[in-house]
Structures are given as structure tokens and as C-alpha cells.
Amino acid sequence: MKITINGTSTDVQADTLAMVLEELGYGAAKVATAVNESFVPMALRGQTALAPGDRIEIVTPRQGG
């Protein structure tokens, strides 16, 4: 299905947030996630089902002021 990852339309096979992260190569990377503008804690990624058109944000620590 087609979902949007960090603003880019992306085709994925997996249907949960945890599996999508795995599929896209995030593996054990230190990331935080949001689906359709709502935060999804790490513990809930496995049970967070995704639907076509969902908007996923995947972020990591960065420089800031």
C-alpha cells in the first residue's frame, strides 16, 4: 500500500508501524514516530495498524538551539 513517510509517498508491504520501520531499514535506530500527526510510543508500534494514505513521521535526535 501507499503511505507517506516523512513527506514522501512510499510503497510498503508491511501493515503495522513496527513492520514498516523494519522494512524501511530503521532496525534498531533511535527514532520516534507519529502517525497522522499523533505520537505513537515505541511500545505501541507493533499494534499500530496502518492504512493506505497514512502519514508517518520518523524523527531522530538532531542539533537544536
Binding site: A29, A32, I58, V59, P61, R62, Q63, G64
Partner: protein, 256 residues
């Protein structure tokens, strides 16, 4: 000094952005003696691992971390960003920015108060990036904030304290609230001035990172912050309009 019950050794807080290299960043932190580093969260592609590399650098600094919601223009965006930051950095501290104007990066006061209230109820310890407005400050305290971070001038301008009257009023209005001058400082003298006025700390980024020698500038600011604080604690003299000789008049030789 204390923020939300946590003792921090330094009155200087330093951002982690815009340094020419990670090494210069680390040198600047070392010479600043800063006790808190501000950080952000940003998008990362799968397999990129830039976030982990940056996190390793920050962890090695050995300072407390204060994540921000920089660039957020809505309450929803700021809240979600704060929640992601809490998980990433394992802290409930958040430097809350809700920007209301693109050119000045002035906070949106209405969104700021709403987001501060929501996040406080959600267990965050909110450090709101605000203006010198005393009414807004009161609303933020009502919303549960126990620290205020008024700007000296718009972010990245280096203009110093552009509304000294407003800054004095704010400090006087809430004498017991920890206040950090956040944003707009360009020179150590401006930081010293903020500290002399009774502000508890300053937060810098561009002034240090964009200096020709960031590490030297960091140390310059550190000394200024210390000097300003000492002056505040030393109870400065009152200024006066007319001269008053400091050398005793009595006993002067009578010569014509």
C-alpha cells in the same frame, strides 16, 4: 541553580546547532562550562543513522539535555514534537516553542499558553520560549510553567536586550521564578547585562556557533555570565546624575 527541582551547576545553557564541526561543538561546550544543551528532533531516512551519531556526541558532553519544539507553528505540532522528544531523549523537560510570526520568530502567545497547559498536564516540565510580556508570563505560570525563557531579541539576530524596560519589569514582577534569557544575544556584554538585571541564566546558540572562534566566544560568554551574576549578588550602587568625587576632598593640599 535549580530548574524543576534539578540542580544545574552553570548559569549558561548552550545550543548544539550551526557549529562548523562536532569537534568545535565539543570544545565550545567544554570552555563554556554549560550545564544544559538544547537539541531538536528532525526527520531521518531508513538506514541514515545521523541521529544516532549526533546523540553519541551529545551524550559525551555530560550535560543535561533540553529538547525543543523549534519550528512548530501550531499547538498540535508542538505537542506531538514534544512527545516524540520525550521518548527519544528520555526526559520530560521541553523547551516549548510555538512560533507565531515567520520573520521575527516571535512566539504565538495564545498557542504557547494552550500547549504549555496541555503538556504540563501530560507530565512535561515546560521551559516556554516567550517574550518579555508580563501578562503572557503570568498566563504561562498559571498554565503550570515553573521556568520562563523570555527572548532578548529575535532568534539569531545578536541584537542583545532590545526592550530593557520590559525585561526589568518582567524580572521585578516575578522575582522568584527562574528566568532564562533565551535568544537574541550576540555579545558577552549583553549576557552580563541580563545577569546584572537579575536573570538567572542565559541560553545561547548562534552567538557562539557563528563566531569565528566558537570555543573562545563560549568562554567569553561564560565569564560574562559569571561576572554579571556576581554583580547582581553584590547589590550594585544606584546611578546618579551629578558627579561625586571618589577621592576624599578633605585634606587636599591648598594650591593655587
Amino acid at each position: 541553580m535549580r530548574f524543576y527541582g534539578t540542580e544545574i551547576d552553570s548559569r549558561l545553557m548552550l545550543g548544539t546547532a550551526q557549529y562548523p564541526s562536532p569537534r568545535v561543538l565539543a570544545d565550545a561546550f567544554r570552555r563554556s562550562g554549560a550545564g544544559i544543551a538544547t537539541v531538536s528532533v528532525r526527520r531521518e531516512a531508513g538506514g541514515e543513522r545521523a541521529g544516532s551519531a549526533f546523540w553519541d556526541i551529545v551524550s559525551d558532553l555530560g550535560v543535561a539535555v533540553l529538547p525543543n519544539t523549534a519550528g512548530c507553528h501550531s499547538v498540535r505540532e508542538a505537542v506531538t514534537t514534544a512527545q516524540m522528544a520525550r521518548e527519544l531523549f528520555d526526559t520530560n523537560w521541553i523547551k516549548l516553542e510555538v512560533i507565531g510570526h515567520a520573520d521575527t520568530l516571535q512566539p504565538d502567545p495564545f498557542g504557547l499558553v494552550e500547549a504549555a497547559r496541555y503538556l504540563t498536564e501530560d507530565g512535561f516540565k515546560v521551559f516556554p520560549y516567550t517574550t518579555e510580556d508580563v501578562v503572557l508570563a503570568g498566563r504561562l505560570l498559571d498554565a503550570g510553567c515553573e521556568v520562563l525563557m523570555p527572548w532578548g531579541a529575535p532568534i539569531g539576530t545578536g541584537l542583545g536586550l532590545t526592550n530593557i524596560y520590559g525585561m526589568r519589569t518582567l524580572r521585578a514582577q516575578f522575582p522568584d521564578v527562574p528566568m532564562v534569557v533565551d535568544a537574541g544575544l550576540g555579545l558577552p556584554s549583553q549576557a552580563a547585562m541580563a545577569m546584572e538585571m537579575g536573570y538567572d541564566a542565559v541560553l545561547l546558540n548562534t552567538a557562539v556557533a557563528r563566531a569565528g572562534d566558537p570555543a573562545a566566544m563560549a568562554e567569553g560568554f561564560a565569564r560574562a555570565v559569571e561576572a554579571g551574576r556576581l554583580a547582581f549578588e553584590a547589590d550594585p550602587m544606584e546611578p546618579r546624575d551629578m558627579a561625586a568625587p571618589s577621592t576624599p576632598v578633605i585634606g587636599k593640599a591648598f594650591l593655587t
